[in-house]
Amino acid sequence: MIPVRCFSCGKVIASSWDEYKRRTKDGEEPAQVMDDLGITRYCCRRMLLSHVELIDTLAPYQ
């Protein structure tokens, strides 16, 4: 799961995750999507950029 807030500055970034995921999957540049979503600082940008969804790997377990 995407962390709710940026580790460094505390900005809520999880609310942008769904749109970010959808638009980058459709082939848009991550940089452009983050600019549109108002994620300007590099601390917040790395949160989205470097996130790996592990929930599908863990899903069979409780």
């Binding site: 799961m1 995407i2 709710v4 807030r5 500055c9 809520v12 769904d18 929930i55 899903a59 409780q62």
Partner: protein, 264 residues
């Protein structure tokens, strides 16, 4: 000298303004108060009745705690400052969450017992539930201060820098500083290189232009009494309310100090 505020940008979630004729101590006081001393509402306790999601209870608890909650902040007081002894509507509010998979659980699925208390962002993912997975819990939100835990941190990325002053004297218009400047604010004017008043705010005080100038025509200084502030809110307050509250926190502290001193 009276303090002056010149607002450059003001929106619900972020603000940028110039605070002048004041001291670093005061500017830093405002910054610290916005980060750590403005009380907000956040989930502090959860009673989990059922959690068969892939997230541990603790992970779920942290995720819920970090969701900013909006409300009428005057209606609440921090628990340690409340006289009720146990709990009362003034110091805590209950939210419930019950969801069953498959599907993503969002912050908007939290059902609040007080209509005014709502998550600031409706679309924060809390947990991804698969077929048959369930979450049933009651969350208790309380008022608190950012200096205790980041869940109560109302201001995010609050910061300031001194107003830059860049002076050119005896410039030969060679143009080296124009290409060296990483923020591209130096332009060649009629008699010398120059920076417009608006662009001056963008100067990062890196002094690369001073280093590249062969004839030492550039002087980069700062105005010690003028600050460019950037303030962002997590959504629990509007930035305007956040700054006003930060100011009143400082004022209250100063008042209580003078009260203590007067009784000595």
């Amino acid at each position: 000298m009276t303090m002056e505020v010149d607002i450059l940008e003001l929106s619900d979630r972020s603000a940028k303004f110039v605070l002048s004729n004041t001291t670093t101590a005061f500017a830093n006081g405002i910054r610290r108060a916005a980060l750590a001393d403005v009380p907000t509402l956040a989930i502090t306790e959860i009673n989990i009745y059922n959690n068969t999601s892939v997230l541990y209870d603790e992970q779920l608890g942290l995720r819920l705690a970090l969701i900013p909650l909006t409300s009428n902040m005057e209606d609440f007081i921090p628990k340690e400052e409340c006289n009720c002894g146990d709990f009362c509507p003034a110091c805590q509010v209950s939210l419930t969450l019950s969801a069953e998979g498959p599907g993503m659980v969002y912050s908007q699925d939290l059902v609040s017992s007080d209509d005014k208390v709502q998550p600031a962002d409706p679309n924060i993912p809390i947990a991804d539930l698969r077929e048959g997975q369930k979450i049933v819990l009651e969350a208790i939100a309380q008022m608190g201060y950012g200096n205790k835990h980041s869940r109560w941190q109302a201001g995010v990325a609050c910061g300031y820098k001194n107003m830059p002053i860049v002076e050119f004297s005896g410039c030969d218009q060679c143009g080296k500083c124009v290409t060296e400047c990483p923020v591209n604010i130096i332009k060649i004017g009629t008699n010398s290189a120059e920076i417009s008043t608006e662009d001056m705010l963008k100067c990062t005080l890196c002094r690369l232009c001073v280093g590249i100038c062969e004839i030492d025509a550039i002087d980069v200084k700062v105005d010690e009494h003028s600050f460019i502030f950037t303030v962002e809110s997590d959504g629990s307050y509007s930035t305007k309310e956040l700054i006003l509250n930060a100011g009143s926190v400082i004022k209250d502290k100063a008042t209580s100090l003078s009260e203590i001193l007067s009784t000595l």
